[in-house]
């Protein structure tokens, strides 16, 4: 819900920017590199799995509009990334990378998680 509210707010404020981010032909491969280059891995892990420092981002990332709005305007624990730091193209690529991450196995099928 919070992301949705933020997304709506951001569209009002920076609608053209969001349109721009969503409009790129995104590359998951480039996104993986940008995910590392811009430090997303630091809190979310190399596969966006999340942890104590940051929530899970993948699989099934939130929609690109909400994702972009949050990255640009967050006032929560994560500092915002402005366009001067992280371009719309890179942001779209990162989203594509997160979308490319497959679902994990059900924990019930992993013996070590059923000890």
């Amino acid at each position: 819900m919070r992301c949705a509210i933020l997304a709506g707010l951001a569209i009002l404020v920076t609608g053209s920017t969001l349109d721009g981010a969503a409009a790129f032909a995104a590359s998951a491969e480039k996104g993986k590199a940008a995910f590392v280059r811009h430090g997303c891995w630091q809190c979310h892990g190399f596969q966006g799995q999340g942890g104590i420092a940051g929530p899970k981002l993948a699989p099934d990332p939130i929609a690109i509009e909400a994702f972009t709005a949050f990255v640009r305007t967050t006032n929560r624990a994560m500092p915002p990334y402005m366009e001067a730091v992280l371009s719309n193209e890179e942001l779209a690529d990162i989203h594509a990378y997160l979308q490319s991450i497959p679902k994990p196995a059900d924990y019930k099928s992993i013996p070590l998680l059923n000890q």
């Binding site: 892990g45 190399f46 799995q49 420092a53 500092p79």
Partner: protein, 602 residues
């Protein structure tokens, strides 16, 4: 004096020392107390006591353990206490050695770990040798640790030493526990006993009872808890012993109250249905905090993302929530080095030891529960069981994320490790770095020694020596010790690896090697973002100055060179199980073992 000759190159004939050495009497004093080991790095300023300990005292009770850094010696004493429940002493050179030891003493202070730190010092300026021994003397060596020790003294006679040492032991081991320091004059150690007509005696040690909460305050706390709709118990270093765990369980079950264990110790079983995450305070109407380092932080949040680079404070709790505190640290506050956080107004505050107060509080709660509340309390317990089961499912599914990733996910790291040790009487002696709390989220911890807590003062460099110290205690108690060892922590004073091998201390160290000072990585990234600048990475993965790569450190080779069984680097999670099997076998044979595992950041 021999050291003076060597260090000043001014040789001269010195008379032999006659009579009974003062330091022999000091050994007699030390032996009356239950101090099993003495981890230390040798130094000239305590050479007389050192000689008496190993020759007159037979190197038993205490046994001298050779350390390569004073920080390691203190860290070992810190970890040893948390596993054994008994303090150690250490000897340090009064100036440079004590300076090396300070950070570890600060950790022990913040973590309520008792120990006796004895610093050798040549007080008499007219008597001490010139040159290095004089440079290495000071008027008041204890000054640099006075802000984070419970007590210190400078005995000027042997009888004074006997009183000081027994007093030091007594003060250190009375809750709130903490380190104490004694400045020990080199002349007093070295000179023969001259009793001047008075016979030296050793005071008898009798433990002091811990402080218990005021009866009226206990009753008021019980009244609030018994009538609460949603009471929550928050614990940090509340359980000093196994009995403390039992008492917290009794209190929680009497109220069917949620328990948030902040993990300063193993306070509450991870398998108990009343265990909750820190968000449990959000809907509480009465919160009892026991031995919390940071009450403010337990009920408030700070978001490091405000306007103009200043963070934002918010409350986590509902207005009107009643707050109760039982903490012995209220009796132990100092002015300079602060060991408390922001000021939090508390409704019922007891300056008392939580474990000592719990029996009275439990009885008072049972007496205060109104007859018509009992059904509601029982219902609360049923809801808690359902919520606990659901949370456990969510946690396990979260652990499945990135399960096959390389570098290895921290969840995979800890569960592969657990698979190899679960049938042993294991003790997780340290988890330095940050593995997203997976052990405390996924491992069944029901005994006090299953988890020993962290550094206390956030001084990096605690993990390796504290693990070795705790493993020493566990060796004698027949337990299997595991540490999750971070890379940054190990590099502060890796020489403690040699101490473990030298003294036959078995320990399984599984490395959480994320190749960086990860706690600091995001701080720099955050500031770059606030300032709208791209963080400079140089040739590393994290902002310049926060990575430990290029070259990557081969920790397994480092450990192997100091007598450990070691293997690595392991980057593929499928290689973990066979390597862990070998490592466990090595530890079971009495050897310390280290696995260098490349991991995800957290």
């Amino acid at each position: 004096m021999h050291v003076a000759v060597a260090e000043t190159a001014t040789p001269k004939e010195l008379p032999r020392i006659g009579g009974v050495a003062g330091s022999d009497f000091m050994v007699d004093v030390i032996k009356t107390l239950d101090i099993k080991y003495l981890p230390s790095n040798p130094a000239s300023s305590f050479r007389a006591l050192h000689e008496s300990l190993i020759d007159y005292g037979g190197n038993k009770m205490p046994e001298f353990l050779t350390c390569t850094h004073e920080e390691s010696a203190v860290g070992m004493a810190h970890g040893y206490f948390k596993a054994a429940g008994k303090p150690l002493m250490t000897l340090v050179h009064g100036t440079v050695g004590l300076q090396h030891a300070t950070m570890a003493i600060y950790n022990a202070w913040c973590d309520r770990a008792p120990m006796i730190v004895v610093g050798g010092n040549d007080l008499d300026a007219a008597h001490r040798p010139p040159g290095v021994p004089t440079f290495h003397s000071a008027q008041d060596i204890n000054a640099i640790v006075r802000d984070y020790t419970k007590w210190d003294d400078t005995p000027v006679s042997l009888q004074h030493f006997a009183q000081s040492f027994v007093r030091a032991y007594k003060i250190a081991t009375t809750p709130p526990y903490g380190p104490v320091a004694i400045s020990l004059d080199a002349g007093l150690q070295q000179e023969p006993i001259t009793e001047n007509g008075e016979k030296l005696y050793i005071p008898r040690y009798v433990p002091t009872s811990p402080p218990q909460g005021d009866t009226g305050a206990v009753k008021e706390a019980a009244r609030l808890l018994a009538n609460a709709q949603n009471p929550v118990i928050v614990v940090d270093r509340a359980a000093r012993t196994e009995n403390g765990v039992r008492l917290i369980v009794q209190l929680a079950e009497a109220l069917q109250a949620s328990v948030v264990d902040q993990g300063g110790r193993m306070n509450f079983p991870t398998t108990h249905y009343l265990r909750r995450s820190p968000t449990a305070v959000n809907n509480a109407d009465v919160i009892t905090g026991m031995e919390l380092s940071d009450y403010w932080g337990s009920v408030n949040a700070y978001i490091d993302n405000g306007e103009h680079g200043i963070g934002v404070n918010t409350s986590k709790i509902r207005p009107g929530t009643k707050l109760i505190s039982i903490s012995s640290v209220d009796l132990n506050t100092k002015s300079n080095y602060q060991d408390f956080q922001r000021f939090q107004t508390i409704d019922v505050q007891m300056a008392a030891d939580a474990e000592a107060t719990l029996p009275a509080l439990i009885e008072a709660v049972k007496a205060a529960i109104p007859g018509d509340r009992k059904a509601a309390i029982e219902k609360r317990g049923e809801a808690a069981k359902k919520a606990f089961a659901e949370a456990a499912e969510r946690t396990r599914q979260a652990a499945a994320l990135a399960w096959d990733a390389s570098p290895v996910s921290t969840a995979r790291l800890v569960m592969e490790t657990f698979a190899q040790i679960k049938d042993l009487d294991w003790s997780l002696v340290s988890s330095s770095g940050n593995v997203s709390n997976w052990p405390r989220r996924l491992w069944p911890m029901e005994k006090h020694y299953r988890w020993l807590g962290a550094s206390g003062g956030y001084g990096v460099g605690y993990g390796a020596p504290a693990s070795v110290g705790a493993a020493l205690a566990n060796r004698d108690l027949g337990r299997f010790s595991i540490s999750i060892q971070s890379d940054g922590d190990l590099m502060y004073a890796p020489g403690v690896l040699w101490t473990a091998a030298r003294h036959g201390i078995p320990l399984l160290a599984v490395m959480h090697n994320n190749r960086g000072y990860h706690q600091e990585v995001m701080h720099v990234q955050r500031l770059s973002n606030f300032r709208n600048r791209v963080a400079s990475l140089g040739k590393d993965m994290g902002p310049i100055g926060t990575s430990i790569q290029n070259p990557d450190i081969e920790y397994h080779k480092l450990a192997e060179s100091m007598g450990w069984w070691a293997k690595g680097p392991i980057k593929d999670p499928s290689e973990l199980a066979p390597a862990l099997k070998q490592a466990v076998a090595a530890v079971n044979s009495g050897q310390p073992a280290l696995l260098n595992v490349w991991t995800q950041p957290r």
